[in-house]
């Protein structure tokens, strides 16, 4: 089975590499003079103009081919990126004569979508300790509005394995270009690991209860304060059906606020990305919540890319005050945080304090990483844990082996799948 997956990953990466006929095209001898991007009623010459219709990243991808020899096969990939980012019905491209000898212009024409219906696989991964996890959704997009229905079964992210359905409505532009709205409804059935069940029974003083179902409704609005700084505010109404014989319900209703910053810096020979966010979730009696707690977290992710070399640092810290449901407690030891460790060995109930840092180095598809983290509860002392790993990552396909660094036995964890 593992070999089959390996084969799939390599085949996928080969396909992703695109057709091998690029250098067979006679026009590959010409130099790209400029790139023209046009749509209904607008045209932008990317050699001399900037545009806010596309992201900085895609703008740099398009302008990077100016002055270079034409690679006709790469134009298909750029058109696909434009189509995806602009939610366009179709993006066509053509190469025409430039103003100077031996130079050509590349023209992309964007045809706007009236509506689209899509199927997305957001996550599909295997962890040798936690098994399979996956999520996908079908969506209908009409202009800037998205309706989506999804299925999920995830044994990776939280202390529980949750399986169920999700529904999402999103309006990406409420008229001003600065405000968007998102409504998410989810209904999950929970399965608990024996380690978690035993830990709950052993620590009744912690006031942590298991639940058999979890239902959420989360309306949020995102405001662009000043590009690229955004503020998301909203609420989450959550109902938990407890596992007591009487099947009582408990609520965890919270106000939500997240401040997010994202910046891309494009140099001549390198690219830098910076992501930073801080979040607050506050559940109070005022919101008719049975659980009263506040959750604060902050994270910074920095990526430096030069040629085939990429270095990434991902730092994150979180703190919970009060009594939070298990789904809101922090988890380390999954395929994202402190890879190589088993979350049920680290803390089967999750923690209310966590800190984490990961350094990754990529050379092309080859990947190596070092993770460092600690998870604990208030009043306990933090214990730092380390892990290292190697793997292959091509686009969203990932295959990695992570080894926890501890005295005694070496027990690597194998992870693979689609990891956006």
């Amino acid at each position: 089975m593992k070999y089959a997956w390996l084969g799939c990953l390599f085949a996928g990466s080969l396909l992703f590499a695109g057709p091998q006929d690029a250098d067979s095209n006679v026009n590959a001898q010409y130099t790209v003079e400029t790139v023209i991007l046009s749509g209904k009623g607008w045209t932008t010459n990317l050699r001399s103009e900037t545009t806010d219709k596309i992201s900085t990243s895609l703008y740099h991808q398009l302008t990077a081919i100016i002055g270079q020899k034409l690679n006709p096969a790469a134009l298909d990939g750029l058109a696909a990126n434009l189509k995806r980012e602009l939610s366009a019905r179709e993006v066509t491209h053509r190469v025409v004569r430039g103003e100077l000898p031996e130079q050509v212009r590349v023209e992309f024409e964007v045809r706007p979508a009236r509506a689209s219906v899509g199927v997305n696989v957001n996550q599909f991964l295997y962890d040798s300790k936690q098994g399979w996890s996956g999520s996908g959704e079908a969506d209908v997009t009409v202009r800037q509005q998205v309706f989506a229905l999804g299925l999920v079964s995830d044994g990776d992210w939280l202390p529980e394995r949750y399986s169920g359905i999700t529904a999402r409505y999103e309006d990406k532009d409420l008229g001003t270009g600065r405000l968007s709205l998102k409504l998410v409804a989810e209904s999950f059935h929970e399965q608990w690991n024996q380690a978690t069940v035993a830990a709950v029974a052993a620590h009744p003083e912690a006031g942590i209860a298991l639940y058999r179902t979890r239902t959420d409704f989360q309306p949020t609005a995102t405001l662009v304060l000043a590009k690229p700084l955004t503020l998301t505010v909203g609420a989450r109404v959550e109902t938990l059906e407890t596992e007591t014989p009487a099947a009582e319900t408990a609520s965890a209703n919270a106000a939500i606020a997240t401040l997010r910053y994202h910046r891309e810096i494009e140099g001549l020979e390198n690219q830098q990305d910076l992501d930073a966010d801080c979040s607050l979730r506050a559940a109070t009696r005022i919101l008719n919540s049975d659980y009263v707690y506040s959750l604060r977290s902050a994270g910074v992710r920095y990526r430096f890319k030069s040629g085939k070399h990429t270095v990434t640092d991902n730092a994150w810290v979180g703190m919970i005050s009060g009594r939070a449901p298990l789904a809101d407690r922090f988890v380390l030891g999954n395929t994202y945080y402190l890879r190589g460790w088993n979350k049920y060995e680290l803390d089967p109930l999750g923690g209310n304090r966590a800190v984490y840092n990961s350094v990754e180095y990529h050379y092309g598809p080859l990947q190596t990483f070092y993770d460092l983290g600690a998870i604990w509860d208030e009043g306990q002392s933090a214990v730092a844990r380390h892990s290292v790993g190697i793997g292959i990552r091509e686009s969203i396909f990932s295959l990695a082996v992570a080894i926890p660094l501890r005295s005694g036995r070496v027990e690597p964890i194998f992870m693979m799948g689609i990891l956006p």
Binding site: D21, S24, N27, R84, V96, I396, P420
Partner: protein, 205 residues
């Protein structure tokens, strides 16, 4: 032992299959396929087979690469039971700065390429580089030949992979015109003994 010839004994199922397959191929009625024999291989020529046309030609003139896949199939009987098959691949492009000139190459073996060809010369070059080995066929053995030409897919995974996973746009997928039906030409019945023998131009010339 010689291959048993079925001659014209064609089953009802065979006729039914042929009937269903007929609309799939374009213009096989306008049959003008000339077959020649160089001692090892069969070669084909068809002056009225114009595959640089329509949408593929538009894509070429917009600077894209178009891949043509040619299949030469020998049949034991009247184009029903396949016997031998040979494939060839041609990568064609159009010089957007040239004077209506094309370039073509084939990975072979051996790899070959040609530049600054007119449309007609490009089509002829591709046909010149299509052959099928008949070294193991008895001179008096009867067979039928079909040549198919179709465009290869240029799609790759980058159109469905995104930052958030794999996405497929169903409307785009369902509304996309299907692959163009292959162009086909037929000849037969043939016997090596009856074919005009050409000077050797085998793949290792």
């Amino acid at each position: 032992m010689a291959e048993p010839s079925r001659g014209l004994q064609i089953s009802r199922r065979g006729w039914l299959l042929a009937g269903f397959a007929a609309p799939v191929f374009r213009a096989w009625g306008a049959d003008s396929l000339t077959v020649s024999y160089d001692g090892d291989n069969l070669r084909v020529r068809s002056p009225d087979l114009h595959f640089l046309a329509g949408k593929p030609l538009e894509r070429l003139q917009e600077g894209s690469t178009v891949v043509y896949l040619a299949s030469t199939i020998l049949y034991r009987d009247r184009w029903i039971t396949p016997w031998k098959r040979a494939e060839a691949r041609f990568v064609v492009s159009y010089d957007v700065l040239g004077e209506d000139k094309f370039a073509v190459n084939t990975p072979g073996p051996p790899p070959r390429h040609a530049l600054n060809l007119s449309k007609a010369a490009t089509e002829a070059w591709c046909l010149d580089n299509i052959w099928i080995s008949v070294a193991d066929i008895a001179p008096d053995r009867q067979f039928w030949l079909q040549l198919e030409l179709r465009t290869g897919s240029q799609r790759d995974l980058s159109s469905v992979l995104g930052d958030t996973g794999i996405s497929v746009d169903l409307i785009d997928l369902l509304s996309r015109p299907g692959a163009e039906p292959p162009l086909a030409r037929r000849a037969g019945p043939l016997r090596l003994a009856d074919l005009v023998r050409m000077p050797g131009r085998g793949p290792n010339e």
